[in-house]
Symmetry: C3
Subunit: 151 residues, 3 copies
């Protein structure tokens, strides 16, 4: 067990996996923040008003909440594949410098993706960040499948 | 390989990871159950009626189906980060008692979260369950990053 | 580290995990393709037209885009649990032939699931593919919990 955590590539994977997963987790509280500040909830029990008419007014959809939720969804669709493929990639024993390049590029691209999405920056900023993240995962998957293929 | 599964912390991780993932998987059949009992489908091919007018009536959204789907989505957003961070945490070699405390708290909090969400229990029951789960994951991530940081 | 990747069951897991994760990742570009060909976007910054009235016309929902997104969501809900449980299952040291049977069945079922979903094939084709994938994951989870239970 200790062996894995003494391997530098695995340590680099651990660091960047924890960072991008934490970034993704923080989208949850960010959604709550936008829900509360814009007064837009999905569940009746989340609205603390007494009158049922006032309640229904707060069960609405707000564009800013939906924007954060789409960003969160995009994280689920991209960060989790990165973590799975990145773990298998680390176990194939790549060069530390090459592995670090992959992990740093991905982490940077996804942090910028969140800024571009939540801040509604003009395209193609968000599209490019998404493509860079995806190319990193494809590159690692290629190395994994070309090293260890047992069908 | 056998070494990992002889380590008690890793065995505890394996047990609780399997439990919370199974809990999450069961939200799928639960959604199907609510879709069938309330007659609310998303796809035309899922409706077996012959008349196209009757079909369209069943392509609707039902609040109970949406509630289960939001609960499932919240599981994806919280349980998968727990599994990833929990695996890395187990590999840092924590005390068995401390690791068990993290894993048990998380599993209990998420099972209660589902009961609170699907049963529409009054707040802050669901919010507290969500926060406990998130704090457990943050605590494990802190241990991971303070033990193994290679940027 | 090299030990894990010399184990045949783990190599088989690595191969099939990479394949199903790549299949899931490709739903992203497929969504983009349907968004562009049907002209249905979610974000104002994604529409390159100059007149704000023309812009709003492209901020719409198209049934084909929603179909691909539901398929992607179903992948997230099923493929990620498979990868997590499949990893733990590989570490319990099953027979190679039994493990391969699980992994192949799952990969085949999920690829067929995507064809059935995106192609809107008549039911119960999609439902059966979904059930087969779920049964494979349950079977592996049963083996994991009956081998390594530390509560």
């Amino acid at each position: 067990m200790a062996e894995l955590m003494e391997n530098e590539v695995f340590m680099a994977f651990t660091t960047y996996a924890a960072i991008v997963i934490l970034k993704m987790l923080l989208m949850g509280p960010m959604t709550s923040y936008y829900r509360i500040t814009t007064g837009s909830f999905s569940n009746e029990e989340d609205v603390v008003l007494k009158h049922s008419e006032d309640k229904k007014k707060l069960l609405k959809i707000h564009p800013n909440v939906e924007r954060v939720r789409r960003c969160h969804q995009n994280d689920l669709e991209n960060i989790i594949p990165f973590v799975v493929v990145g773990l298998l990639y680390a176990l194939t024993g790549p060069e530390l410098s090459v592995a670090l390049l992959h992990y740093r590029l991905f982490a940077g691209a996804r942090i910028f993706h969140t800024i571009a999405y939540v801040g509604a920056l003009p395209q193609p900023s968000r599209a490019l960040a998404w493509i860079v993240g995806m190319l990193v995962t494809f590159s690692m998957a290629y190395r994994v499948l070309s090293t260890v293929l047992l069908l």
